[in-house]
């Protein structure tokens, strides 16, 4: 019996070692391959996202052409009241009506990140001019609308007390990370941008230096 055992123990040991090695190679190898394959899948997904983002960003200069100041001014983050006052005065001059008692209110939240400021004023002039003046606010930037108007007629002159709302919105505080997908502009977005680009922006006038004679120095 001992001789039998001694005789077969070597082949048995060798086979056992082979089985252990085979199992180790199989499990370790398969685990490593599975891990690398998973990394490749995740990376390919990321590659697809980034590829799509690059192609979206490359089309932007063709979609949003030229100066995009109108987008900033459409809903300014600051100075909406000043823009609004500028527009009220410009449109009044353009339409031949007279503005008096111009007043501004404080900022009040509207919805989401949008707020509004109201501007109240009295306006008088011929009826056609006045109505054209009031209708003009729907096509001006920054975005504004007529909240209410009280109109009365004396002889042929129409007088109105008008309140308009000028809208303002905070700029986004955080831009998305490089690896986040970019949302491309939809057809509706492009249509909105085209519509807004035709609205009238406030006139920015550079004041000219004084050309008259300087006042004499009273101390000299």
């Amino acid at each position: 019996m001992n001789n039998e055992l001694k005789f077969i123990i070597k082949p048995v040991l060798l086979l056992t070692i082979l089985i252990i090695l085979f199992t180790a190679v199989f499990f370790i190898g398969v685990k490593k391959i599975t891990t690398i394959k998973a990394q490749i899948n995740d990376s390919k997904k990321m590659e697809a996202v980034l590829g799509q983002k690059v192609s979206i960003l490359e089309t932007i200069p063709n979609i949003i052409l030229g100066d995009t100041t109108f987008l900033d001014i459409a809903l300014p983050s600051r100075g909406a009241v000043l823009y609004g006052l500028n527009q009220v005065k410009s449109q009044a001059v353009l339409n031949g009506v007279i503005i008096t008692n111009l007043k501004t209110g404080s900022v009040s939240p509207e919805k989401d990140a949008i707020s509004k400021v109201n501007i109240t004023f009295d306006v008088s002039g011929p009826s056609e001019n006045l109505y054209t003046f009031l209708s003009s606010f729907s096509k001006l930037l920054p975005l504004m609308n007529v909240d209410r108007a009280r109109i009365s007629t004396i002889d042929s002159t129409v007088n109105a007390n008008v309140t308009i709302n000028v809208y303002t919105a905070e700029l986004p505080k955080k831009i998305q990370s490089i690896t986040e997908n970019a949302e491309e502009l939809t057809d509706d977005d492009i249509e909105t941008i085209k519509t807004i680009s035709n609205y009238t922006i406030p006139e920015f006038i550079e004041p000219k230096p004084f050309e008259g004679e300087a006042k004499p120095d009273p101390f000299n």
Binding site: G29, I36, K44, T68, E110, Y131, I193
Partner: protein, 179 residues
């Protein structure tokens, strides 16, 4: 004829079945060794190939990231445009009195054909339009009310007050409710 003589002592002899088993185990070991070598080579090759593919994908990702960084201005434009257009649409959809002003203007233009009636006061807001109308006679009043009832887009039109004075004629107050 040659005769086989086994000189191994009986007590040291190995049974035939043990010899057969040992030979079988040896053959299995040889096959196992070959399989082990093949599978090890396969695993190593697979790891190398997949690692190369992974490196390629990572390199592609890095180059795309560099490209995106170079398109930073376009990304900012896009981000701003998306943010603003969303909010612009919200603002445009807010209630405004300008449509009511346009309707009133059209009404007022039609009233010019009725010189015996005139508006004394008009109040327009996002929810309603309130008109005070002075009419010298009943015919012009009827014309005004007919015109008023033909204006589309109102939920109802309420005659909130009605009076008569021999000096000025009829004085009526109409409220056009939008909602």
């Amino acid at each position: 004829m040659q005769k086989r003589i086994n000189l191994i002592p009986l007590e040291m002899a190995v049974p035939a079945r043990a010899v057969k088993l040992a030979r079988l185990l040896s053959k299995i070991s040889i096959v196992g060794t070959i399989l082990l070598i093949i599978s090890t080579i396969y695993v190593i090759l697979a790891i190398v190939i997949y690692s190369v593919e992974y490196k390629k994908v990572v390199t592609s990702i890095e180059s795309k990231k560099i490209k995106i960084v170079s398109l930073e201005k376009s990304e900012q434009k896009l981000f701003l445009a998306k943010d603003r257009t969303e909010k612009i649409v919200q603002v445009i959809n807010l209630a405004s009195a300008h449509k009511e002003i346009d309707k009133f203007r059209a009404f007022s233009d039609q009233m010019t054909t009725n010189p015996d009636s005139s508006f004394t006061e008009v109040s327009i807001n996002t929810k309603k339009t309130e008109l005070s109308i002075s009419s010298k006679n009943s015919n012009s009043l009827t014309e005004v009310l007919k015109l008023a009832s033909s204006i589309p887009g109102y939920k109802n039109i309420v005659l909130s007050s009605f009076g008569f004075s021999p000096a000025t004629g009829f004085l009526s107050n109409l409220i056009f409710n939008i909602n």
